[in-house]
Symmetry: C2
Subunit: 236 residues, 2 copies
DNA sequence: CGCGGAGTACTTGTATACAAGCATCCGTAT
DNA sequence: ATACGGATGCTTGTATACAAGTACTCCGCG
């Protein structure tokens, strides 16, 4: 928790850039110029640069000294790592569920699921609800804060998921799986919840190779390859 | 993964400060001044400041705008979170062990264990070996890179471990547990490995309350409490 | 036409100057 | 003696100037 209490430009810019990267509005491989970003955002290089450093630590951007900064391409290895991490954590979390579930969180999850079933659900709305749903499950077992770490590590996975859903059918199948997991948990059937959770988490992951064949330019090939310096910074 | 290829002052300073915090040479609660650190290290504020921002994101330091920066006190909640995370990941890793273990890694682990059994083992050496041992286990199942994420998240846990061992007996019991885990793995007995691993990981954790009673000033009480501004920056 | 090299325009890394805010200490008034 | 207030010295946040290095462009030469 990089808590800088008072509102600072850096925090705002960090969150904004992070959002742009995760939503693919800043495409993998795109060149980022500290100067241009600073000019676009109406601030100096300092907060922009510090934000990029944080994003680099998360693996969302790559900074090559004296060369340039780039939105990192989706790295299949990092996607697999994030998949393993979240699966391990979320499954272990199910084993720590208390006998009496917190009714407030349960109600919140139920409301979340209701919104997921709305027919006019947009993609970004679904991702927000999905994120909140999984974090809520972690809170049920008292490990809500661990989700922060998982969330920080799964940037590559999230981008791959977005790629999959952008060119895929509706997220209806995932919504149904969410329901299944939730019902198993509230029904006290932990083994069933584990099975449903594992199935759910792997559903997205198994799609990645297909996506990669479809849009190879968004994926990393060699980890140390330097992207071309082109300014594709077009947004808003 | 924050790869800035060419050597930069920032990377060096970041690693140095991180080491000082994790080894408790910079005590929890100590005040850090960007200016003083810069002067001590012979550089300007910029690389120091950027390092502190990274450490803040890891939760190892806290930055209060216009007030000061402090080495974060050990937060029992974050220790518990890290414990849960590493246990989930390391146990799940055991389930992914291949039938044929990589002989190179196995040999490396064996050599590591031999060094752990040396009678003149220093504490810092033990911690280094311990870190390498657990990372090696993850590599056996092909999840070596995930250890990076776990390592980044377990800063508070590591500091608690050091506190425990500083005032505790020798790490001999942990070395024996390492051996037990290793033997179970090479013997192909995954269930036994899981049991041994869980026992091992919880051995340290269960000691924390005792340590806390002994040195309460190093632990956080209220998450939002601002430490006193005193310059105890004494090292080397 | 092909190729090489100097110039140039960009990049990030670092240092420094200034801005804004908090805390403490000290002097003054009550 | 005590309460209040302003000066002062610290802090981090931001902006900017400069340094070092890469890559591309373009012109001249073979």
């Amino acid at each position: 928790m990089a808590q800088t209490n008072g509102r600072t430009n850096r925090r705002d810019i960090y969150l904004k850039l992070r959002q742009l990267v995760l939503t693919l509005e800043l495409a993998p491989g795109a060149a980022l110029s500290e100067n241009e970003l600073a000019a676009s955002l109406g601030v100096s290089r300092t907060p922009v640069r510090e934000s990029l450093i944080l994003l680099a630590q998360e693996g969302l951007v790559q900074v090559f000294p004296k060369i340039g900064s780039f939105v990192s391409r989706v790295d299949p290895a990092q996607v697999a790592d994030a998949q393993f991490l979240r699966e391990a954590v979320e499954l272990a979390s199910l084993d720590d569920l208390p006998a009496a579930l917190d009714p407030a969180v349960v109600g919140e999850l139920r409301a979340n699921l209701d919104r997921q079933r709305r027919s006019d659900l947009g993609l970004e709305e679904f991702f927000d609800l999905d994120e909140a749903f999984h974090q809520g499950l972690m809170r049920l077992s008292g490990h809500g804060n661990v989700w922060t770490t998982v969330a920080a590590a799964k940037g590559h996975l999230d981008r791959a998921r977005r790629l999959g859903l952008h060119e895929n059918e509706s997220p209806a199948v995932f919504v149904a799986q969410h329901r299944e997991i939730f019902d198993a948990i509230t029904g006290g059937n932990v083994p069933l919840a584990r099975t449903a959770m594992r199935t759910h988490l792997r559903a997205v992951f198994d799609d990645i190779e297909r996506i990669r064949a479809h849009s190879p330019e968004l994926f990393a090939t060699d980890a140390s390859s330097v992207p071309v310096r082109r300014n594709i910074v077009v947004w808003e």
